[in-house]
């Protein structure tokens, strides 16, 4: 098998860092010092929203994982075990998936306690455990798993007027038939050869992606069409980021009109909490939320009704964004009745996590839901990046209507409507949230 030079270089670099970092660990041990691994803390409390960069970043807090701490000893062992497996894979020119790594490292440690009783313990039990250790190694080494040639299942797909080089093959993404190109786990090894597109449309739903693809949306509007098929994986995020950064294309994100859709957008734009150490590389700060927005469903008048309640929390400034309703709803009263779905308790809870309890408490009218949220979410402050006037407007309608909508509903109104009216109008009029 011919190994591409890109891979070779990545391997060499990762091996060097591994050796260097763990030589220090060994040195400490030989000097009789406490064996510790010092790494950034990967927890919510150490995740910082950088207002200037508009990114979720890993904070400055470090944790010292010590072998001598009973609560950390197992993790210490797991980290070293995982490092040794990754090391071997790198040396042997392999491309393990995270699942491979889980199986390679999973074995029993048998030992006897002081009274001589035999015990058996697995190095790890579930893949969740070994996945967490991989993330620890990434932050400990400051090397991403893609750079260590660790693969994961492909999830994201792309079509459009784009020619890339992957490995030693040149691929034309406009010649994929009804299928699409699966975004590979190491998108950094992709080379952009040629492009003829004006923007990128990322669709949350795979089904809607396929409909737009078959409809010829990307040809007609000179778009690169991408789907993340739900929560975006690292490869899809990195690929979108490269399109934005290297090809300077505007990025539009189309999701369901519900709290999960909003969060998917925010993951693309500013990063996620569990992977905040990668935001600098994965997030696309220019990404725009094109829809489906609550005002598209209910019109801006609906938001205006909430204006005084919101002003009591956020002050008069909020009125400037909301006070003058310009936009009419895209859906008629009858269509709304047919397409919207009643929000479930879980949806409402998630929305409160995003925007904060105070907004929910002011706007929810349904007494039963209001009481439920009070029991569950009292005092939740919300994520700062959602507490902007535009999102407050969006989510306030969600609370007062307790309704959500899936993108498919827009397609049900007519695929033509979605492809030729809704999306183009939104882009042309600049009707998005940034």
């Amino acid at each position: 098998m011919a190994i591409s030079s890109v891979d070779k270089y990545a391997r060499q670099k990762s091996l060097e860092i591994l050796r260097e970092k763990f030589a220090l660990v060994a040195k400490r041990i030989l000097e009789g010092k406490k064996p510790v691994l010092v790494m950034p803390k990967r927890v919510l409390s150490n995740t910082i929203y950088d207002m200037n960069k508009k990114l979720l970043l890993l904070g400055p807090e470090m944790k010292r994982r010590s072998l001598l701490d009973v609560n950390e000893a197992r993790k210490f062992m797991q980290t070293l075990l995982m490092a040794s497996i990754i090391y071997e894979a790198l040396v042997n020119d392999e491309y393990p998936t995270i699942r491979d790594l889980y199986y390679r490292g999973k074995h029993t440690i048998s030992y006897r306690d002081i009274s001589g009783k035999l015990h058996h313990e697995n190095t790890w039990d579930e893949q969740r455990e070994s996945d967490a250790v991989i993330r620890d190694i990434e932050v400990f080494l400051g090397v991403l798993r893609e750079e260590m040639l660790i693969l994961s299942k492909e999830k994201g797909k792309v079509v459009g007027n784009l020619i890339i080089k992957s490995g030693d093959d040149v691929i034309d993404l406009s010649r994929m038939g009804h299928g699409a190109y699966a975004i590979e786990p190491t998108p950094d090894l992709i080379e952009f050869k040629d492009i003829d597109a004006e923007f990128v449309l990322v669709v949350e739903k795979d089904a809607v992606f396929q409909q737009l693809h078959r409809y010829g949306f990307w040809k007609k509007y000179k778009a690169i069409l991408i789907t993340s098929a739900g929560q975006p994986d690292r490869a899809t995020r990195r690929f979108v980021r490269r399109l934005s950064e290297e090809l300077k294309l505007p990025i539009y994100i189309l999701t369901d009109a519900d709290p999960y859709g909003w969060y998917i957008y925010s993951v693309f734009k500013i990063g996620s909490i569990t992977l905040s150490y990668e935001s600098e590389r994965l997030a696309t700060p220019n990404a725009k939320f094109i829809g489906v927005s609550m005002t598209d469903i209910f019109g801006e008048e609906e938001a205006a009704k909430n204006i005084n309640k919101l002003a009591s929390i956020f002050g008069k400034e909020i009125k400037e964004v909301i006070s003058k309703p310009k936009k009419k709803a895209y859906l008629s009263e009858k269509e709304r009745r047919n397409y919207i779905i009643k929000a479930k308790k879980k949806d409402v809870e998630r929305a409160v996590e995003l925007i904060g309890y105070d907004v929910a408490d002011k706007l929810i009218r349904n007494p039963e839901i209001k009481k439920y949220i009070r029991q569950k979410k009292l005092g939740v402050s919300g994520y700062p990046w959602f507490r902007t006037p535009e999102w407050i407007k969006e989510i306030s309608i969600f609370f007062s209507k307790l309704a959500k909508l899936e993108i498919e509903a827009m397609a049900s109104k007519g695929l033509k409507f979605l492809a030729d009216t809704y999306i183009p109008t939104k882009i042309e009029t600049g009707d998005w949230i940034d």
Partner: protein
Amino acid sequence: MGVMSAAAPAERYRAISPAEFFYKYREIAGFSNPARALYQAVREFVENALDATDSHGILPNIKIIIEKADENREFYRVTVEDNGIGLPPHVVPEAFGRVLFSSKYILRQTRGMFGLGAKVAILYGQMTTGRPVEVITSQPNLRRIYYFKLRIDINKNEPIIIERGSWRKNRDWHGTIVSMTLEGDWSRAKQRIKDYILRTAVVTPYANIVFMTPDGEIYYYERVIDKLPRPPKEVKPHPYGVDLELMKRIRDGGSFSTVKEMLMKSFQGIGKVTASSLLEIAGISPDLSPKSLSDRQLLELVNAMKNYKRFRAPTSEALSPLGEEVIKAGLKRIYEPEFVEAVTRKPSAYQGHPFIVEVGIAFGGKVPLSSDKYPTLLRYANKIPLLYDEGSDVSTAVVKEDISWDQYLVKLPAPIIVLVHICSTKVPFKGVGKESIADVKEIRNEIKLAIQEVARRLRVYLSKKLKEEEKKKRVVSLAKYVPEIVRALTIILGDGQGVKAELLEEKLVEIVSLRTGIPKDEVHNVVKSVEIGV
């Protein structure tokens, strides 16, 4: 009378001898069936043997032999030998051949109360096998050893001497060997008898005890301590413990010129002043002759004594507690526990009877696992083990109801034994079996306090042990990962390039040992026990 006898049915009354009485009512003394009889006979002779030694300051050497005495029938020959004070030869026939002859009428703590048991055993043996009892005895100051072969004449309550003899001592031996044959049931009695001897051995660490069974087994409990319990002294009765019967016996038995003198000389804690005020309360003139007192007057006197508030507490000189050292040595000898402690409480009294409670606790080692309700209980009354009726004993109530064991870090079931010894001039037994002690408030309270005191020391020990174990557990939870860590590091850094696996392991063991305070070789043992699977 004449009228009475005319109306009464024509029944014939005749006196029966005590020997005949016990022969007929042998169940009372515990000889209800062959199994129980064999057990009871062993008990009676062993207890006599111990009384003949430790109560007289002699370190006991006791030998118990049970052997099959007939090929066809279930006859067993029981021989018990001691190195005690022996008996004067002229009292031997009476001591073994007449019921109610005993040296045990005085008021002091002894194992058997009236020496009755041994004679009932002999009667039982004679009745079931027809074979006589043999006794060999000598006293320390005598030059000869005496031998008797006896039978009891049941009707006359008299000993019949079948054979007697004596020979010169050619070594300095003293003691008694009793040998008798009875119908028994060894297979059903053996567990009880073994238990009884084991439990006796627990409280007699100062005794050498050899026990040979019909199965050819030999149990040997070797002396581990030279200290004897304080021997009991004879004391006069305390006025609180008096009743009309005792008063009558004192009146009839003594030769006192006045009632006042009788009171002063017959009881503890009564001097001139107390005697005078008692008689005044009872309305009896102090100068009367005791013989002239009516039963009614005696009853007045008894009541006056019972209600008098200012007596001193009864003396405990008559009591012979085992002592903390003996209890600890005894528990150690049998159970080799990791923890053992004991306490002897100060004397106390109930209804005019002095008593002392002693408690020992053994934990771990060869101590068997208890039930999950309460610790294994070893009960003793006046140094005698109590084997039956545990459920109704006051000690059982205390360990079950008054003590919450988890408070003392004991998680039941646990390898724990609680020994409770109650000694008193009058142990409040429940029922005729004398196998359990009644729930007397004063005694229950003393048992509780004693157990609490020892259990507190157990808690200190256990909490220390727990901490130590915690520490060791911690070491295991670290050390078990050492081989995996060494393996991983040598893969990454390459064995031979300055990083030797052995050296890394050695250093890690050193670090873990240093930081946890557990010795290096213990850490090493854990590391060496580790096997990494595939």
